[in-house]
Symmetry: C2
Subunit: 571 residues, 2 copies
C-alpha cells in the first residue's frame, strides 16, 4: 500500500490525477501556496511538479481541504442521508460528525443503523456519534430508550465514532450513575464526547468537563467562549437554520485561540442547504463578518480533524486523504470541484455522483401508530375560566406561560373572539392513546389545522388549529402516510400532506421536489395567518421540547420547564 504512494510521489509510477496550476490553502502555516497537487488512489502523494493520467487545470481557483461539519443532526434537513449528501457534497463538505438523535428517539438502535447504512450509499463520510440522551426527559413517551447499558455495549464497535452531545448536563454535574456509565464507556473506548452546555460556567462547567466532554456549540458571548476555550473545550461556530452563532461569535477568533474553533450546522433545513449552502455558506458568512479566509478554512478543516482525531484529514498535504473542495476564491467560496477519496465527484459545478437507489428498510417506515381520531378527541374542557397558554415568540424557541381568560361550552373551550389556538401532542410510537392538550398564543393561524410528526425530542405528532375536525383530519392523514407535515383548511375535503416517510422525520423524495412541495405548503400556511418570525411547521416542532424554557406540551400534558415538572392547564 505505502509503496504505491511512494512510487507515485517520487514519479516512479504515474499519478492518477494531478491538479495543475493549483493555488491551495496550507492550513498548517496559514498561507496560500502554489504547486501541482498529485493524487494516487485515495491519497494526495505530493505537491510540486507532477504529471498524471488525468490532469485538471485549476488556474484561477483555490484548492481547499474538504469541509468538515463537526456536529449535525442530518434528520433536521428533513432529508434522508442520501438527500442530505446530494446537497452538501456539491457544497464542498466531505465529512460530517452526525448525531442521529432524532431518528434514535423514534426507532432506537435500528434508526442509528439506518443512518449508517444509508450514508454508505453516498460519497459523504458520515461519522456516527451515539446519541447520549434518548429520551430527553422521563416525563414523555418516545419511540425508544438508549440506556447506559446499550451505550456500554455498542461504544467499542467500529461504526460508533463517539458519544453525541451530552445535553443532560444537570445529570453529569449531579454525578448521575447512568449518565456517567455512558461517558465512561466512551472514554474506555478512547472515543470523543460532544458537549452541549449553554451558559454553563464556573465550577459547574468544571464538573461537566471532568466527564471528559470536549466540545460546545452553544456559546452566546465572549466571556462564555473565553472560559470554555481556556478550560480546553473546542468551540463550534454554529451555522444552522434557526440556531446560529457563527456570525456573532467568529469575531472572538484570535491568532492565539483560532486552533480551538470548529464549525458546525447542528440543524439545517433542506431549503437552506439548497439555496444558501452548508459549510461553504458558513465560510462565506464568517469572512463577510471579518474573519480571515485562510483562518476560516482552517477552522472548518484541520481543526475539526484534530478535535475528533480524524487522521490524515483536513489538509492539502502528502499522505492526506484526497478530500478536496475547489473554490473560486476565499470570499465567495463558490465550489467548482469536489474530490472525495481522490475521485472527482463534482466537476465544474456538475455533480458526478448518484445516490439512488435509496436505502429504505421497512423498520424506519410506518412509524406513526395512533388510533383513528375524530373531532371530539380535540375537545378541551376546562373547569375554570383562567388557563395557561403557551405563548410563542418569533425568532426563538423559548416560550412563555401566559394566563388567559377562556370559556368552556359544550365540553370544549371557545376560541372564537380570542387569538388562541388549540395545541395537541399525540403519542405516536406505542399506541398509548395519550393526547396532551393545550392552548397556544401568538401563532397567528386561522381556519383549520396544521401538524407535523417532527416534534423535539420525542417526535410525537403535534397539531395546532382552531377547528377540531381539521385537527383530526391532519392527524389521521399523517398517520396514513407514516408521518410528515400536513395542513387542513376547515371545510375542505382532504388535508394537504408532505410525507416524511422515514421515521416521520425525513423525506425520501428528491431534495428539489421536497423543497418545492414544502414551499407551497408553507405559502399556504402563511396565507392562513402564521405570524412572521415563525416557521409554520418547525416552530411547531419545538413546542414539545421540554429542555427549553418555559412552558411546553408533551403527550402527557402541559410541562413547566422551569420547575421541570408537569403542570395543570388551569391557572
Amino acid at each position: 500500500m505505502l509503496k504505491k504512494l511512494i512510487d507515485a510521489a517520487i514519479c516512479r509510477n504515474e499519478c492518477d490525477i494531478v491538479l495543475k496550476n493549483a493555488q491551495y490553502v496550507d492550513v498548517f502555516c496559514g498561507a496560500v501556496r502554489k504547486g501541482d497537487i498529485a493524487i494516487k488512489g485515495n491519497r494526495i502523494v505530493g505537491i510540486g511538479e507532477y504529471k498524471g493520467e488525468r490532469e485538471y487545470d485549476m488556474s484561477g481557483l483555490t484548492v481547499l481541504p474538504g469541509f468538515i461539519d463537526a456536529h449535525v443532526h442530518i434528520e433536521s434537513s428533513q432529508l434522508t442521508p442520501e438527500g442530505f449528501a446530494s446537497l452538501v457534497v456539491p457544497r464542498g463538505t466531505t465529512t460530517v460528525i452526525a448525531d442521529p438523535h432524532e431518528i434514535a428517539n423514534v426507532c432506537g438502535a435500528d434508526g442509528i443503523e439506518y443512518m449508517l447504512l444509508a450514508s454508505k450509499n453516498t460519497p459523504l463520510d458520515v461519522r456516527i456519534m451515539m446519541p447520549s440522551c434518548v429520551p430527553a426527559t422521563p416525563f414523555e413517551n418516545n419511540g425508544a430508550t438508549i440506556s447506559g447499558e446499550d451505550i456500554s455495549r455498542s461504544m467499542g464497535e467500529d461504526y460508533v465514532f463517539g458519544l453525541g452531545e451530552f445535553m443532560n448536563y444537570p445529570a453529569v454535574i449531579a454525578g448521575d450513575s447512568e449518565a456517567l456509565e455512558k461517558l465512561e464507556a466512551a472514554h474506555s473506548a478512547g472515543k470523543p464526547c460532544d458537549g452541549h452546555a449553554p451558559s454553563l460556567t464556573g465550577n459547574e462547567l468544571n464538573a461537566y468537563l471532568c466527564a471528559g466532554i470536549t466540545t460546545d456549540h452553544e456559546c452566546s458571548d465572549a466571556a462564555e467562549i473565553e472560559e470554555k476555550l481556556s478550560k480546553g473545550m473546542y468551540i463550534a461556530l454554529r451555522h444552522g437554520s434557526s440556531a446560529r452563532n457563527l456570525q456573532s461569535n467568529c469575531k472572538y477568533v484570535t491568532a492565539g485561540n483560532a486552533r480551538r474553533f470548529i464549525m458546525c450546522t447542528d440543524d439545517r433545513h433542506a431549503a437552506d442547504l439548497s439555496e444558501k449552502g452548508h459549510i461553504d455558506d458558513a465560510l462565506r458568512t464568517a469572512v463577510a463578518a471579518g474573519l480571515d479566509g485562510v483562518t476560516a478554512v482552517t477552522i472548518a478543516t484541520l481543526n475539526a480533524a484534530e478535535c475528533y482525531g480524524l487522521k490524515w484529514r483536513g489538509a492539502v498535504a502528502p499522505n492526506y486523504i484526497a478530500d478536496l473542495a475547489v473554490v473560486d476564491n476565499l470570499k465567495d467560496f463558490n465550489v467548482k470541484y469536489v474530490f472525495k477519496n481522490g475521485s472527482p465527484i463534482v466537476r465544474n459545478g456538475r455533480v458526478m455522483f448518484d445516490v439512488s437507489p435509496r436505502y429504505m428498510p421497512r423498520y424506519v417506515q410506518n412509524t406513526v401508530h395512533i388510533p383513528e381520531l375524530s373531532a371530539d378527541d380535540f375537545k378541551l374542557a376546562l373547569r375554570g375560566e383562567r388557563a395557561k397558554a403557551i405563548k410563542v415568540n418569533g425568532g426563538s424557541i423559548v416560550t412563555d406561560c401566559e394566563v388567559c381568560s377562556v370559556k368552556t361550552q359544550d365540553g370544549d373551550v371557545v376560541l372564537g373572539g380570542t387569538d388562541l389556538l388549540k395545541l395537541a401532542v399525540i403519542e405516536r410510537h406505542k399506541l398509548t392513546g395519550n393526547i396532551g392538550r393545550g392552548l397556544l398564543k401568538g401563532y397567528g393561524f386561522k381556519g383549520g389545522a396544521l401538524g407535523i410528526t417532527v416534534s423535539h425530542d420525542s417526535h410525537n405528532l403535534i397539531v395546532l388549529g382552531d377547528d377540531n375536525g381539521s385537527m383530526a383530519e391532519v392527524a389521521n392523514a399523517l398517520a396514513k402516510v407514516g408521518g410528515g407535515m400536513a395542513l387542513h383548511a376547515a371545510g375542505r375535503k382532504e388535508a394537504r400532506v408532505i410525507p416524511l416517510d422515514v421515521g416521520g422525520l425525513m423525506s425520501s423524495d428528491k431534495p428539489q421536489e421536497f423543497i418545492k412541495k414544502s414551499q407551497k405548503l408553507y405559502a399556504l400556511a402563511r396565507s392562513m395567518g402564521v405570524n412572521e418570525g415563525l416557521d409554520a411547521f418547525l416552530s411547531l416542532a419545538f413546542l414539545s421540547l421540554a429542555v427549553v424554557p418555559h412552558l411546553k406540551l408533551l403527550d402527557t400534558g402541559l410541562f413547566d420547564v422551569d420547575k421541570f415538572a408537569p403542570t395543570d392547564i388551569e391557572a
Copy 2:
C-alpha cells in the same frame, strides 16, 4: 472514577490539592490567567475558587503544564533512565518520547525492555518509540538487529508508543520492503512515526511523507522549515548538547504556524542537564532569542501532546492530568515546584522523589566482549606511503578525508613527527575479533590513548592514541568494567576508567558523582592536548557514524560515506 472528579469539581467532596493564588498559562488561548487550580487524584478538576486538603501558595509564580521532550535518546545523557529522570524532572519535564536506539544497538529487544522497566522506577512518563534503524548500516557489526518482522510483532503491544525516527530515508524513498514493513506495522497499530530527514526536499520529501512520517528535528533553515511544515510535518526545535537548532529556528515561529512546532533535546549530556537544564533551558533560550514566553510554553506542552496524541496532557485545564511545572517567570523559567500525576515531587526547589534502588538486570551489564588485546593488535602496516586520514573538525561531526604522507617501519606506521593519531574500532558485541584501524588528524591528543564504548550507532569500542600499549590498556580496561570511558597515559601503570556499566553506554552511578568524575577525566584529556572545539570522548564517539559524511571508521575498516561503501586506507 469520573464521579470522584466531578464531586471534587463541584465541591461536593474535598479536593486533594489546591494551588492557591495561581497565575497559569492557558495554552488554548495563548494567555496568562489567574485562579485556584484544584487537583483530585491525578487530575486537575477545576480552575476557579477552591479549597483543598493541602494548599500551596503560588503567589508570584506561574503554573505551566509539565514539559514534554518530543524526542530524546536517554542513553546520550550517559545516565540510566533513573539518573536521567532525577535531573530532568526537577527541571519541569514530566513526559519524554524516548527512542532507545543506542541500547537497542547493543542489547536489542532486551535493551528496550530495560529502558521501559527502569523508567517505571521514576516519576517521569517515558513513552518508548521502537527504534526503526538497528543496525544503522549493513556494513558494520552491532549487538542486535531489529527486523521488520520484530517490529511487526511488537508494534501492537501497549508498551510501544510508536516508531522511532526513520533515519534511513533513502530506504523509504526507494520503497525498500523491509523499511515499509516497519512503517506499515506502525500505521496498522495507529501509532506515530518520527522522522529524521535532514535537507530532504521536493518530491523526495513527498515520498518520505507518504510513508506516514510526521515529525522532523533536523531542519536547518527557513525554507526547509516552511516546506516541511506546509507538507504536514511537526518541526521539533532541538536543544541538544552538540546538535542544536532551537535558538536559530525559533525565529521562524509565527502566529500562523506556531501550532506545528514542538521541542526536543535528542542528545543531551548529563553535565548539560545538570548545569543548564532540559526543556526549561530550551524555553529560556527560545525566549532569549525573541520567542514569546506563552508561545514557547505552548510549543513545549500542548503541541507535543497533540502531535503524539497524548490525551489529557499538555494543558492546565479540568480533566487534564495534573502534570505541572511551576516557574518563577516566563523569562527565566526557574522551576520551583513540579507536580506529577497530582503529587508534589519538587517543592520549593527541593526534590521529593527517589529513584533508588535502580533497576539493573544482568542482561544489560557486561556487554563488552573482546579478546585480551596487546600492543601489537594496534600495529598498522601500510604498503605505500600515502594514506587516507580522518580529519576532524571542531564543532561538527562531519569529517573530511585527508591524504597524508606516512612511513611504515617494523610493521607499523610511524606517527612521530606527524600530527596523526591512530584510531581503532574494536567489535565488542560478538567476539568477531574485528578491529578496524585508521589514522586520525586534528584531534590534538599526545602521549597515550583514550577510548569509549559509545560509538554511534553500533557502539563498538573506539580508541585513539599515539601509543599501541596505551591503546591496548584502554581497550582491556574498558572490557573489564563492561564498558565506559578510559584514558591511559603512556608509561603509567593503569588506565583511568569511568564505567558505563549499562550496555557500555550509561552509568548507574549517581548523576553528580558521574559528572564530577567525568569532569576530571575530561580535564586530564584536555591537558594531554585534545583540541578546543572537540569533546574529548564524545567527538570520538561520532567517528564511526557511517551515516554522516565523509570518512568514518567501522569495525570492518575505513568507510567512505559519500560512496556509501568501504574504502582502502592506502591512497
